[in-house]
């Protein structure tokens, strides 16, 4: 869930399996911003698991727990063959087990390895509660979402500033009678155009996706496509047209572009996806398997993918998490430090990371 995203700080500390640090969610904008501020001599800061908008305020640190699913993914990514088509990895599991945080860990790793990160923090936000839908100028049958597109472009710009000047557009794009982007101009100009003319923001996003897909095979950069809540692309929307009839997701230009991006017909990178029931529409609460959340259409579209199960904490992970909270004095209740208290926490949360975080917030 978007609210539970973490703030990753690029610190000097190596993330090796022995280190159990605990992470907390944060807005993706800050994620992007932090990845840019590479300060090697700054001491790594840990965060608490908070659902605040600005978690670092509470703890002055940003930490992640290094867990098996993330390590498995990192191993696969390190051994990717960039000549083969992009492999799709799908993180699935019950609510609150840590899929989004594992995704963040992978993004952090790839960012440190200088990949180009295409990160959609929550695809569900593109299919519900959108104001200001416009009919697309490019294709009359599709709809634009200027607000979501422009906010995504801003995040993309902060995250990948260095690449925007390096990558050159390979086609001429005409925006309107007076403005156009020539062939050979840097991609940054397209992004600027999308940000200044909000009406063209969705088209700018489409162009960015198309260009990146085309040029990822060239070897100049490695592309990581990270989408959280990918089941939104094949679900249902709650958006209506002017005639008050419901819209299908393929009629949204952003969703259409993203579906093309998630296809494995390009090479030179990897695609990491997360399923999420928490923000999903019209899906039962207990559903967590790929077949249930993606539906037939989505499953067939993603078909050859590597599923990675993210489960609740193992006893060592739980112990480590509680130890982390105790070290940072997050668990203030006197009884929480006793064995009885820990057993009770284990019982109440069932070793579910999200539930444990919510419990420890008020203890």
């Amino acid at each position: 869930m978007l609210k539970r995203m973490t703030r990753l700080v690029s610190g000097a500390r190596q993330l090796d399996p022995g280190r159990f640090l605990h992470g907390e969610p944060q807005a993706p904008q800050s994620l992007a911003a932090h990845l840019d501020n590479q300060v090697p001599d700054e001491s790594p800061r840990a965060t608490s698991c908070t659902s605040e908008d600005d978690p670092v305020r509470t703890f002055n640190e940003a930490c992640l727990m290094v867990r098996k699913p993330a390590l498995e993914l990192l191993r696969y990514l390190k051994n990717t063959n960039f000549a083969h088509p992009a492999v799709r990895y799908v993180l699935y599991g019950e609510t609150g087990t840590g899929k989004t945080l594992s995704l963040c860990h992978v993004i952090h790793f790839c960012a440190k390895q200088d990949w180009l990160i295409l990160h959609i923090p929550d695809a569900h936000l593109w299919v519900k509660n959108c104001r200001g839908l416009l009919q697309s100028a490019y294709n009359k049958l599709r709809f634009d979402q200027p607000v979501e597109a422009s906010s995504w472009l801003k995040d993309f710009q902060t995250a990948n500033e260095r690449f925007l000047s390096q990558i050159k557009v390979q086609e001429k794009y005409v925006w309107n009678k007076r403005e156009s982007t020539e062939k050979g101009r840097p991609l940054g100009e397209v992004v600027e155009q999308g940000l200044t003319r909000v009406k063209n923001a969705t088209d700018a996003v489409g162009i960015v996706l198309k260009e990146l897909k085309r040029q990822s095979g060239s070897g100049a950069f490695r592309l990581l496509v990270a989408v959280d809540g990918v089941n939104a692309l094949w679900g249902r929307t709650t958006l209506r047209r002017e005639e008050k009839s419901l819209m299908a997701p393929e009629e949204l230009a952003l969703v259409h572009g993203l579906r093309k991006m998630v296809r494995n017909d390009w090479h030179g990178g990897a695609i990491v996806l997360t399923l999420s029931q928490t923000g999903s529409l019209f899906k039962p609460r207990k559903a967590y398997l790929p077949q249930e959340l993606l539906g037939k259409e989505g499953f067939d579209a993603l078909d050859p993918f590597i599923p990675i199960l993210v489960s609740n904490y193992s006893p060592e992970e739980f112990e480590s998490c509680v130890q982390y909270y105790l070290e940072n004095s997050w668990l203030q209740h006197e009884k929480a430090q006793t064995e009885e208290g820990k057993k009770e926490l284990l019982f109440l949360s069932n070793a579910n990371p999200g539930q444990l975080e919510r419990l420890c917030a008020y203890l």
């Binding site: 305020r57 203030q332 929480a336 917030a361 008020y362």
Partner: protein
């Protein structure tokens, strides 16, 4: 009053429940008003440790106690009381007072959000402060809660006493439970009424608790007002006869 007593006795034998006779509430005479249980009912034993003791560990008295409880009638344990290690009777009572329409789930979630908010605010202050001040900043929301309520308790209260056709506000000493009740009641009323329409209860309540912890804020002012009124009406103290 033969008729009500007979009716009550009949009621008792028919329902096999202990019904209390209605006794007019006199000041100075404590009574549980709404309990449907008779005096022979014992309170339930919630403590886990009591049941974990094996037969060998029990003393003579405890063995006798256990045998006795097998024959006695025991009240039903309330749903809100748990054998959790984190349970706090004061927090429980405060949650009950905040509850509206029996929605304890909502009241409890508001309470936990308040504690979380208090904790976060204190953590922020902690990280912003210099090293010497960090030792003075209290981060435990439970100690802050208890201390704040203790600070809000009035020492002396006023009671309307009828003399010569007029009610006079007479200063009286308050029993402990009345003081605790008044502190909680004032806190909740203050937070419900004096907040902006869009502000949420946890935010306002956490703010008020922190102010009361530092002996500032409107609830403390109300306590001081009560003390001043009592001091002003000092002359009427002889109207009290207990």
């Amino acid at each position: 009053m033969a008729a009500p007593a007979v009716k009550a006795a009949r009621g008792r034998s028919v329902l096999a429940l202990g019904l209390r006779r209605a006794v007019p509430r006199l000041p100075g005479l404590s009574q549980v008003r709404w309990s449907r249980y008779g005096p022979e009912y014992r309170d339930p034993q919630i403590d886990k440790e009591y049941y974990r003791k094996t037969l060998a560990e029990l003393t003579e008295e405890e063995k006798y106690e256990q045998e006795l409880r097998k024959t006695q009638l025991i009240k039903a344990a309330p749903a809100a009381k748990t054998s959790s290690v984190f349970e706090d009777p004061v927090i429980s009572k405060f949650t009950n007072m905040m509850m509206k329409g029996g929605n304890r789930v909502l009241a409890r979630s508001l309470m936990t959000q308040t504690l979380e908010a208090v904790k976060r605010k204190q953590f922020e202050k902690y990280h912003a402060a210099a090293a010497e001040e960090q030792a003075t900043i209290e981060r435990n929301p439970y100690t802050i809660f208890h201390q704040a309520l203790k600070n809000c308790e009035p020492v002396i209260g006023l009671m309307p006493i009828l003399r010569g056709g007029h009610f006079y506000q007479v200063p009286v000493p308050l029993p402990d439970r009345r003081r605790r009740f008044l502190a909680m009641k004032w806190m909740i009323t203050e937070c419900r009424e004096k907040k902006h329409r869009r502000m949420l209860m946890p935010e306002k309540l956490s703010h008020e608790l922190l102010e009361a912890f530092h002996n500032q804020g409107p609830v403390i002012k109300k306590k001081h007002d009560m003390h001043k009124m009592a001091e002003a009406n000092r002359a009427l103290a002889h109207y009290r006869w207990w």
